[in-house]
Symmetry: C3
Subunit: 544 residues, 3 copies
């Protein structure tokens, strides 16, 4: 085992040198190298039996190790001294999987850039009040496609004071590809640089593990600190950002050695391994096989059959990744604490209880002081248990429908689509008797209804916050304020879940309705507590 | 008279058995039956002379009585024992009037389902604040077409706790037709069922009399209780709903015996009969002839010439139909009181005075306690006196324009259209020199302007409500609060009229402007009263 | 000099008689008159040497003086007694410059009429709160094209109580052309007329000098009162309006005698002459040559080369034109004071300081009493220093792109366009490699981002106002309220600048971001001051 681990450590080290595309081309094209490598596969397997298990018999079986790994000759001569290089770049995969690669990076003009959610026509019109003073109130945009995952994470006013900007100014608003071809660090080499006004210093390394595959060999399982890991939860986020060159790669979902469907996001593997039931079949289990490398330094989860619900859940779930606090004491929780890389994998109505047990909250509300959880895109959770989920539909069927390339060959588009804009491809395959306009009408109906409920939930949260401020100014007793604050905590989670996820209720209309109704009920209860107390306080005032 | 009345009572009774479409087909197709009936027309007339008066000489003169009435033979043998069946279903009319029938039920995808009004981009963005705690704050949607009148009345969260849902889930959002083919009662046979959270228990039998023609033989004039009437204002609304199978039928506007233009909505007939002037010509009268059946059990109003302003006013008016309260004492007004089936037929600026005289209000505002009237779709009132009205244009000319069927035959579309989406058909007939884009521009101009005023009126109502809360908390004197509350009552009616009606001011731009301006003036006056009082209250505080 | 001045005074007087179009035609067509005039050009030059300098050698050199001036024969016979008539009507120019003229008046249906800014989806959703009680809160619409400049200035509820209305009602919403063919004065000859409810009495003669060229010979430089000037800053606005027949004319930007590019707006000439640097080149100057007529009664500024930045800046700048007040004392500033015709020509961040030095503010905020500057369309300022400005792009390149007429002849469109709707013409000339959809995407990105910031700035201004009201009601000390008020004054200018200008940030995204961020910072500081004081005030209350 020792030898193998050392060899892998070498891969990690080697990967640090960025390999440019011409180099890839050379590696891939060299017939001699391929032959040598094919001949030498057995040699590699001598140390790397877990690679053999994945690769042999698979569609990638005959691909030479040199296709993705460089400097193998010297490595074999002296494994410990000479580290191989592992190429982590979807461009390499794209040489054979051109349709998938091209569709991933194709610019889609249907999703606008820098579209703030906190405006009247946006997804979360009242967020500046309801999320104050959290970082998302500084800039919080509607999402664009996967090709922009890293770019949009960095080029936003809440991230590191707005230091990362489009290199080409607003002319570069549509550019995607290599991070540092698209963005520029305004602070680099500029001692005069200051954070933009009204920007925040948010950002953390764990969050980035969803958005890129670049760090797969440099990050220990769950992001713990380790001499073998270049990055950890505790690393400087700017350094990590500078080393992030690609958006999420092919290898997040496809094993490069053997093409098996897989997942790599550490905390998802961890939770499923510990027994999370969200993706389990009737027997209560998934077919996920967890493979540990280097004594648990890194784990991957291999599936027998594609389950895109798990693949997408690597990112499209609620998770904690920033610093937090413990309830009650408000004791800070730092990045050294594993709770800063955590996926509840719970449904919305169990979420607050879950976080209370975990003893983790994200921020205190500016007005009420409520201890609030900031929610992230829980698409997997909202989908779970929905009609479509029960019918066995997986994410990729709607979001990555098959389409034909110019030669007529079918392939799954890898530019994630908004089904509403592509109903024919996304819906009519399963609903062939329906028309595009009928399906659009149904989607609009669900979203209209859910948006109505979201707006109501926001109205009542706003009423609760305003009533709290008034009550506090009137000197209403702390015990009453505590009760109202507890209602705020409850109402908040039940609401924000739905503005954080991206389907406006379509993933699970019934659950959205139920949860948003419960949010309103909690807010109204809080308002009543405060109003009753204020009515009494008024009576207690000395008569004039 | 007695015999006739009994016979009609029989018809009522017979109608209770729902007649399915195959039965209709049989009735209509039977040549023998028709012949017999033709021969027998005179026989029917022996008792039913009011039918003779309508039928003879009309386009329907030669239609056999059996076309719409079944079990006539036994009835003639023993009128009191054997009751005939009257078919009340537009499908029967549709057998001859196919274009009208088909256009009525044609699905229009231009009006989305479940589109909440109380959202920033909606018709009434601040309604949750301004209408609290009234039922409409639970769900209040933009209207769809007539074919959805009953469905959308039942499938809404404010109606009976949300127990009626699309039978086919959201996939059934576009379905129309027979109520109980489209909807399902989630509470039926389910003892576990509970009202949805944040739903209301609204709904009443009078309201339904607008939305369907099904109860025409089961409902006494004005909905009073009567042994001969299956349903009354006091009936259980769920029972009435279950017996409501069709949206408003042909017979609401067209007399089935004689094809005369007519109205049947009891309270409209009542008010016109009592002298309401809204639809009167220069001589101060309409040509409406009120015919009473069975000693006033039921009345219809027959017109010599079509006046769609009256036909549409059967529903498209402000009316009271729910339980209410008396001003001042807030004494409840129950369904036994005829004020729960009332049409003011007044213009907006006389409305509050009218309701004060009637001594009826709908609800108390949650914050100010203002005694508010909840307004309904006053399209007839807003149209009354408008430029188009004065020019003799009637509702159907814009909303039911002539179109050609496949064979080139002209007919009036019976799917009510939004003129803005069909300007060529709706506007250019009378304005042939204008272009579609010019007319659209003019409509947009009116609606832009009116929406601006509505938003301003809402802003100031909101200010009034917030100022009231602040003043109340400061202990401002009740007499001052009373004055502000009165301003709220005034401002409310002058505003809500315009969000309740569906033309965004186009029906009567000048009146909209005038009324909304007056609403703002009243709100500002209320705010001033409160601010002045609060300034004094502050001064009175003990110096610190 | 005396003789010349008297002659010009005559022109002024003559111009008072309105010349109808048939008269123009006659003047232009008369070959004899032209010949006489050509022969007589030298004669005119004997007194009018400044005209000679402009005309000779120019493209208009050979145009007879009679083309634009009438009654010249009698004038030459006795210059002091007989005044010539000067035709000021773009229709005359349009006889030769047909494409330019037609494009100016072509109705564009893309910019809707009466589109209120203060609605949730509008440009300034919270203006009714933030600008209260200023006139713009009564009606404040998105702008339409230049052909509507005068019409839209008069037909708005904030102007003179709404007395000017579309002559043809809403059917005339798209009409443009001669003011009094389009509008009607509802108060004229109607003693019963009263201002519309919720209208304002705004409007002043200086403002009109931007919107029309009609008064060029009747208005002394800077609008001071003068026996030779029919109108001044102090004139009755309704009288001035009645004498305003055309929107801004060709002669605002093109010298009629010699076709030189020019400016005529007095205060712009004044400020550039005094050394304003906004349009200066690298050497710190412009090539503007200021020509004074009649001992400074009137000045024009002639350019060697077209600089549309200056031409457009005649109107598209922030300027003071209404009555105001002095800071601190709130001493009224009347129209007799030259500060009521003032252009700061400053960038946004220097603006408040500028107005403080000038000692002029527009209105006190209703709630906080902050002394606020109401800003006007500062398009020139926002553009100044932008990327496009630095690249030498001028206004007309994007807003008046070249297009082909039916015969294929290229001309600059004089109907100002919204580049976003005409990207091919406006953008791709300079950016030929880009696609329309890419450019649209970039513009949307800038505007999305800027709108996000505007909404945030508004939210925080609203918070500041609400907190102020609460603090005042709690009896917080005046010194604290003063501090908060100062923050309001600061935050207001930094925000309103961006809703007042029409590009939603596109003119200068970086500056927009910077300024709006600073606005939020100021508002938050104000809120903090108040909250801190309220927390102390609460503690100070006697314990219960």
């Amino acid at each position: 085992m020792l030898k193998k681990n050392l060899a892998l450590a070498a891969v990690v080290a080697g990967a640090l040198a960025l390999v440019s595309l011409p180099a890839l081309t050379a590696a891939a094209k060299s017939k001699t190298a391929t032959k040598v490598a094919n001949d030498g596969r057995a040699k590699c397997y001598e140390c790397h039996d877990e690679v053999k298990a994945l690769k042999e018999g698979s569609k990638h079986a005959k691909l030479a190790c040199t296709v993705c790994h460089d400097k193998l000759g010297p490595h074999m001569d002296d494994p410990e001294k000479n580290k191989p290089v592992t190429v982590i770049d979807q461009a390499l995969c794209g040489k054979c999987h051109k349709n998938q690669y091209d569709s991933f990076y194709k610019i889609s003009y249907e999703a606008q850039a820098r579209k703030e959610k906190g405006v009247p026509s946006g997804r979360s019109p009242m967020q500046d009040k309801l999320l104050a003073p959290y970082g998302f109130t500084y800039e919080h945009n509607e999402p664009r496609g996967h090709a922009y995952m890293v770019i949009d994470q960095f080029a936003v006013d809440r991230f590191q004071g707005g230091r990362f900007q489009f290199k080409d100014g607003w002319k570069g608003a549509d550019a995607n590809g290599k991070t540092w071809d698209v963005l520029v660090d305004k602070a680099e080499g500029n001692k005069e640089w200051k954070p933009l006004s009204q920007s925040a210093m948010a950002g953390n390394p764990t969050c980035i593990q969803c958005k890129t595959s670049d760090h797969i060999l440099k990050w220990k399982f769950l992001g713990d600190k380790d001499p073998k890991a270049k990055w950890s939860r505790e690393s400087n986020i700017v350094d990590v950002a500078k080393d992030t060159n690609n958006p999420v790669g092919c290898i997040h979902c496809h094993d490069p050695h053997g093409t098996q469907p897989r997942i790599v996001r550490d905390e998802l593997i961890n939770e499923i391994d510990k027994g999370a039931k969200m993706f389990a079949g009737k027997d209560g289990t998934t077919d996920l096989k967890v493979i540990s490398f280097r004594d648990g330094f890194r784990k991957i989860g291999i599936m027998k059959k594609t389950d895109s619900r798990m693949m997408c859940a690597q990112c499209h779930v609620e998770y904690a990744c920033g610093k937090g606090y413990e309830f009650g004491s408000a004791k800070p929780i730092g990045f050294d604490d594993q709770r800063t890389n955590h996926m509840p994998l719970k449904q919305v109505k169990e979420l607050l209880e879950h976080y209370r047990k975990l003893n983790f909250f994200d921020f205190k509300h500016e007005v009420t002081g409520a201890q609030l959880v900031k929610l992230q895109h829980p698409e997997a959770e909202t989908y779970s248990g929905s009609i479509h989920d029960k019918a066995g539909v997986q994410c990729h069927q709607c979001h990555m429908p098959k389409q034909k390339d110019k030669s007529g060959k079918l392939f799954s588009t890898h530019g994630m689509i908004r089904p509403k804009n592509h109903i024919k491809e996304s819906c009519l395959g399963c609903h062939p008797k329906d028309s595009v306009e009928k399906k659009l009408y149904e989607i609009d109906a669900v979203q209209n209804y859910t948006r109505g409920k979201m707006r109501k939930a926001e109205y009542w949260l706003g009423q609760l916050i305003d009533s709290y401020a008034a009550a506090q100014r009137m000197g209403v007793a702390p015990t009453i304020l505590d009760q109202a604050r507890a209602k705020h905590e409850e109402a908040h989670v039940l609401w924000e879940w739905w503005t954080a996820e991206n389907s406006d209720g379509f993933h699970n209309p019934g659950l959205a309705r139920d949860s948003l109704g419960a949010s309103i009920t909690a807010s109204k209860a809080g308002v009543k507590i405060l109003n009753d107390a204020m009515a009494v306080a008024k009576k207690d005032e000395p008569k004039k």
